[in-house]
């Protein structure tokens, strides 16, 4: 009966209750959408980092990344590669030579990171060819071709087929130079990368840097299943103990930073939402309690004890709080599903997003645990909001409450 009374009580002022429930629905919908949008951004960033930079895993000489010394190669790269290519869990691999150097045109000089790749294998891993906006992909049968970014081309004031000179350190610690021609111009969605990376055929860089054919600086690995990354990192590290095997998280610590930053943002939003909701609900329930002072006084007069009065007002508050939750969560879910398919275009801010290596299409998504979190936040909010009005109700003295008109 207490539940019945509480349920009917909340509908005594239909308009007021509907307004509160409506605002809770809108609040939850907005919260779910924002959480989904943030998570979509994290995935966008992470997807771009994995796609363009780190892949799922990378192999290096344990000290190579300290200062990118040409001599620090993976000596048995060919063997490792062969082994990886027979692994059913691995989708694609790309072997690379990485040289720190200077790229000079007749007009300017630019510090670069020259990446020697096998074009076909690299296409499987980073879809490098898809970023080409002018010219053609690297041709393994042609010598000394380069892929440079649009930004690099502008800085060096060069065009397709222009000649450039790359100066670098060989594996034998010599400084060497070689002339290259621009075969293609690419554009990625990360400015910093565009200003740094140039691509050449691996055979050219290997030959010029005097690195044996069986060795390389880097092997990038893409797995079939993203969820296996952590386990696979451990397995491969154990299998190849003389080299360093790292996954995308270890390779790109900023990913973790962004992840935690976004989590903090999400938590702050949930807390702000809860606070706004708590005060809204308390306000409504206080009105409901103060309006019913006589009635509450009468209930206590005829023998309803304070515990039951407390419980009744708690139930009313909780009901008002949670009725809207499923609707709000469902609307948020639908919105996220639709926008996940269509994507939200942030083309207007693409220049700014490029700085961070994010594409301008965000696909909001939210995993089930976050929906549960929102639902729990609403219930906790309802419980917290119910305390004050319920205490207020039990503090009424029937003899005074009954005198109120």
């Amino acid at each position: 009966m207490l539940f019945t009374v509480a349920w009917r009580n909340i509908w005594r002022s239909k308009t007021r209750t509907l307004v509160v429930i409506g605002s809770i629905i809108v609040g939850i919908w907005a919260l779910v959408f924002l959480l989904g949008f943030f998570e979509g951004q994290v995935q966008n960033y992470m997807g771009n980092v994995i796609q363009n930079e780190t892949s799922h895993l990378q192999y290096h000489h344990p000290r190579f990344k300290d200062d990118f010394e040409s001599a620090l190669v993976i000596p048995n790269s060919a063997d490792i590669l062969e082994e990886l290519r027979t692994d059913a869990e691995i989708k694609a691999t790309s072997e690379r030579i990485v040289l720190n150097g200077m790229l000079a045109s007749s007009a300017a000089v630019q510090g670069v990171m020259a990446i020697g790749v096998e074009p076909l294998a690299e296409q499987e891993v980073t879809q490098l060819d898809n970023k080409i906006v002018e010219g053609a992909p690297l041709d393994p049968s042609s010598k000394n071709q380069l892929l440079i970014s649009r930004r690099m081309a502008d800085k060096l004031k060069v065009k397709l087929r222009s000649k450039l000179v790359l100066t670098f350190q060989t594996a034998t610690q010599e400084i060497s130079s070689a002339a290259f021609r621009v075969a293609g111009i690419y554009q990625s969605n990360k400015r910093l990368n565009d200003e740094l990376y140039i691509y050449a055929n691996i055979s050219d860089l290997r030959r010029l840097a005097e690195i044996p054919g069986s060795a390389a600086h880097e092997i990038a690995v893409v797995l079939h299943n993203f969820d296996e990354v952590e386990v696979k990192t451990i397995a491969l590290s154990e299998r190849h103990q003389d080299v360093l095997v790292e996954n995308y998280r270890q390779l790109s610590p900023d990913l973790e930073l962004m992840n935690s930053q976004i989590k903090i943002n999400m938590t702050v939003m949930i807390v702000i939402f809860m606070l706004a909701l708590i005060f809204g609900i308390i306000n409504t329930m206080m009105m409901a309690v103060l309006e019913r002072m006589r009635e509450l006084g009468m209930l206590m007069a005829i023998g309803m004890n304070k515990g039951k009065v407390f419980l009744m007002v708690c139930l009313e508050t909780l009901l008002i709080s949670v009725i809207g939750a499923p609707v709000g969560i469902f609307l948020g879910f639908i919105t996220i599903e639709i926008l996940n398919r269509k994507g939200i275009s942030l083309a207007r801010w693409s220049a700014a997003l490029e700085e961070f290596g994010m594409s301008d299409l965000v696909r909001p998504s939210l995993d089930a645990s976050n929906y549960v979190l929102v639902a729990m936040a609403v219930v906790i909010t309802g419980l917290l909001a119910s305390i004050y009005p319920s205490i207020k109700a039990t503090r009424l003295r029937p003899v005074e409450a009954l005198r109120k008109i």
Binding site: M1, V5, R8, N9, M298, L299, A301, I302, G303, V399
Partner: protein
């Protein structure tokens, strides 16, 4: 010897309201036996309401003793008083004070629910009481669908539901027309005569005073006359 239903000994009550010290009851002694039909009357400010509140366990005396069925309730805690009221006192209020969201049946049933009575017992007693107050056909109506007189009869049924020691009625006819007043008084008089239910009213209403069998007149916080007809 019968234990009196209500026994008041040297009751004093004073309080301060808006900086004015009010001495509402100044040494009241009163004993009400089972089956009495008593009206407490007196002008405004005579202390009727204060006395009724103390008899009903809604307020505590400043000094003196109030015993209901031999139990001293002067020093019970708030929660003990609530439990005591639920088991021993039936209230009928001037403005009915039914629970607007419950039907007539549910209103009558409500106190029994608070007493944790079984569903069968509640159903049987509710039907019996609604028949007794002549509203068996209005069980599923909400208070807003009933006239004032009907609401007050539901309130009487609700007051009787927990089988209290007595019914305390604060100006029960103040909002009723003469026909409803007469019906209500008939109902209460019947319950008093046939079931021996004890009634204590506070009233200004001459029609109630005329029907009462004992009239206690209060003035300035003291009983100045106590007549049995």
């Amino acid at each position: 010897m019968n234990i009196p239903i209500i026994e008041i000994i040297d009751l004093h009550k004073s309080y301060t309201e808006t900086a004015v010290h009010v001495h509402a009851l100044r040494g009241v002694d009163l004993t009400i036996e089972k089956g009495e039909f008593t009206a407490i009357v007196g002008p405004s400010g005579s202390g009727k309401t204060t006395m009724l509140n103390i008899i009903g366990g809604l307020d505590r005396p400043s000094s003196g003793t109030i015993k209901i069925r031999g139990n001293d309730i002067s020093n019970l805690s708030d929660n003990q008083l609530i439990d005591f009221r639920r088991e021993n006192i039936g209230f009928v209020f001037q403005s009915y004070n039914l629970i607007p969201v419950l039907t007539a049946k549910e209103n009558v049933e409500f106190v029994m629910l608070l007493q944790n009575r079984s569903q069968e017992e509640r159903d049987a007693r509710t039907l019996e009481l609604m028949q007794a107050v002549g509203l068996a056909d209005r069980m599923s109506n909400r208070p807003s669908e009933l006239s004032g007189g009907q609401q007050q009869r539901v309130a009487v049924a609700r007051a009787l539901a927990p089988k209290p020691a007595f019914i305390l009625a604060d100006e029960p006819t103040a909002n009723l027309d003469s026909v409803s007043t007469s019906d209500l008084l008939d109902l209460m008089a019947n319950l008093n005569r046939e079931e021996g239910m004890t009634f204590v009213f506070s009233t200004h209403d001459q029609r109630v005073i005329d029907r009462a069998r004992r009239i206690v007149l209060l003035e300035d916080g003291k009983i100045i006359s106590d007549e049995r007809k």
